[in-house]
Symmetry: C2
Subunit: 415 residues, 2 copies
């Protein structure tokens, strides 16, 4: 057995205990985790300081350093997130359906944990705790594999969380960290079929695509977002400008931010007159098709084919004109990532068609794509936003971290 | 573009039309399919006769020839199955949840089709029609890849179904058959990520495991069944014998048949006295552990380690003794395939623990494992029985062939 196989077997065994631990015990563990992270934050911050020093030495960019950094405020936020997970309703055990068949069999479909959830992520130590807390609340063991840049922080957090689990009598292997951060360990985790029920990659599009391609364990793809705002010919243009500005500029690095404005040609110029003063506030770089460049002159660059599929994550916006709703829908279905897509229009029939024919996790009529989020949707916390259609689509809350079983009760029935 | 990529792109385009076709149009198509298969069954039977002749020449076993063969009665049954799919409620469009958020956003979670479903299966021409009908009813396009032994039958059935689709004005690419039956075509289909939303392998355990290992598109594993009947120390032994006999012998080739009896040692001998007269009716071969061989002498063979993981699909039964409920649960969790597991007991607490701690799609208390079936569970038809935990678990009916989207309606909300 390799080290990771041993870890997988231990996680599987722990998952069986966790599946029947009950809400109260799981909440007790979550409180113990929040409390130990606060009480012993000096250890965690010291480990993080070592990670930061090494990262600075290796020349990490400032924005990445910021993601890696822990502060007492961030620790307090992270601990608060763990307590929020404790406060959420426990999905496990819920009877989703119940029928009595003509032969007298009582059949209940009941929510159960998925089992062992593996998470591969990059240099954000908060994910180590956020993900572990949500997995735990839904009764799952987790195997965490963070980036090498955060390994000291992650080791410390995992050790503290395991201590907290043990302190309330739960198996510490319900949370474990892959100690090795080389490529081989990620590769092996992607093929740990005997022990891993689902693998969730969290991070950039490159990581997620590579994992989906390589893994033989079931994967949930999350967080690839090439989102569009379509301004229809019957749009309220002031509203459209406000929505586009929000979708693009309120937080351009996140996956529900817009990357491309699709404009009906009959309103393109008038709309740009409304939108430019807003976009100019953030010096948004525009990359337009021929018609847009015609209207905007040097204010826009000419878009290349790659621009229509780009997830900029920055103050850059592709702008495309179309001659019909049909063309808008086709363009979005061809170039979107199935994340969040918006139409701005006063025409109910156009909206109805867009909402029904655009193939994405979330479709919006007259509202910003930025709302695609577990908290905004009222699901509580989320572990990611799924862009695939199998098992989970859109923000993944606790329910999406469960499966079900059929529990059948009889008195001797045979077939 | 390869031939299969073109087929994938055509299926994806057809899936968009099908997703918005509406219940009435889909039912019209199903009726047209049932009707054309009956009306022109001579063509289908002739193609099947050629398949059978070739298979006989190649020395195919009788039981396999029987699976491959079509008859007018079987055609009538298959057409009847298509009409049953038409009669089932349409899951697409159902609003599963609806909330109005404090900011006024109306958020609906609505069922939508999965998109394009690929199915890889073996030499059973009925699957070609059964699977296509269920995919169609749930609004999905399908790409069918049957075995080479049934290729003439499958080509004919696919051509007739495509004609039926066109006759009601739906795109014929909503149903398509992979024309090439070599390994490369299956391999390519498993990696057709741009077009295939989910791949469902149907067939023997070898096929399913190979597909799950190889595919980069999302896969649902179905139909691997190493099922157990556990006879507890407090079991009604006559009931237990009747259940075991039914679970083993009513149809040993199917995935919900039992492969192993797990006996509490305190009742093993008394139980065997009840069960043997039944098992003897079918000359069931017994493979026991040392204690069982001790009790039964030459009536049982000694089980090897492989027997505890074997899916015999035949009149063969492994028999294992345990000294406690805990040992029974561990043994079943270690050796089962997560399909269907049964406890026979009068002890409610033992049943409660078994039902909650055994990790399987269906868990039974005092009833035969043979009930794990879409029809028996009241789901209508099924496309398979999932043994994984992601997306679908247990019998997969129409609902399991859908995903959802979030449809969000606002009046200018920004975040």
């Amino acid at each position: 057995m390799t080290e990771l196989q041993r870890q997988g077997a231990a996680a599987k065994a722990a998952s069986r205990a966790l599946a029947i631990a009950g809400t109260e015990k799981k909440n007790e563990a979550l409180e113990a985790i929040a409390s130990i992270l606060e009480r012993r934050q000096d250890e965690w911050l010291a480990a993080n300081a070592e990670d930061l020093a090494a990262a600075r030495e290796a020349g990490m960019r400032t924005s990445m350093l910021d993601r890696l950094a822990l502060t007492p405020e961030r620790v307090a936020q992270i601990a608060g997130g763990v307590r929020e997970a404790a406060a959420l309703p426990d999905p496990v055990g819920e009877i989703v359906k119940e029928t009595v068949r003509p032969n007298g069999l009582l059949i209940r479909r009941q929510r159960v944990p998925l089992g062992v959830i593996a998470i591969i992520y990059e240099a954000r130590p908060n994910v180590t705790v956020d993900a572990a807390a949500l997995c735990l609340k839904a009764g799952n063991a987790c195997i965490l594999r963070g980036g090498k840049e955060a390994i000291r922080s992650n080791r410390c957090a995992a050790a503290l969380m395991r201590e907290a689990l043990a302190s309330v009598g739960l198996p510490e292997d319900a949370i474990s960290l892959v100690q090795n951060t080389d490529r081989e360990s990620a590769h092996e985790l992607m093929h740990l079929e005997e022990y891993v029920d689902v693998l969730i990659p969290r991070g950039g599009a490159g990581l997620i695509r590579a994992v989906a391609k390589e893994a033989s364990v079931p994967v949930i793809r999350t967080g690839e977002g090439v989102c569009h705002v379509y301004v229809d010919k019957d749009a309220d243009l002031a509203m459209a400008a406000k929505i586009l500005y929000n979708a693009k500029c309120s937080r351009p690095s996140v996956c529900n931010a817009a990357e491309c404005a699709v404009l009906h040609k009959s309103v393109a110029e008038a709309f740009l007159n409304e939108a430019l003063p807003l976009l100019d506030q953030k010096n948004v770089e525009l990359r337009g098709d021929a018609k847009i460049c015609n209207i905007l002159g040097t204010r826009a660059k000419e878009a290349s084919e790659e621009d229509w599929d780009a997830e900029y994550g920055d103050y850059t916006l592709a702008v495309k004109t179309v001659t019909s709703l049909d063309e808008a829908i086709s363009f979005i279905n061809d170039h979107g990532t199935g994340h969040s897509e918006c139409i701005v229009t006063s025409d109910e029939e156009a909206a109805r068609r867009f909402l029904s024919e655009v193939d994405a996790a979330a479709v919006y009529w007259n509202a910003s794509t930025r709302f695609t989020d577990g908290g905004e949707f009222g699901l509580g916390a989320e572990i990611g936003i799924s862009t695939q259609k199998l098992h989970a689509r859109g923000p993944m809350g606790l329910e999406e971290l469960t499966s079900w079983k059929y529990v059948v009760t009889g008195n001797g029935q045979v077939r």
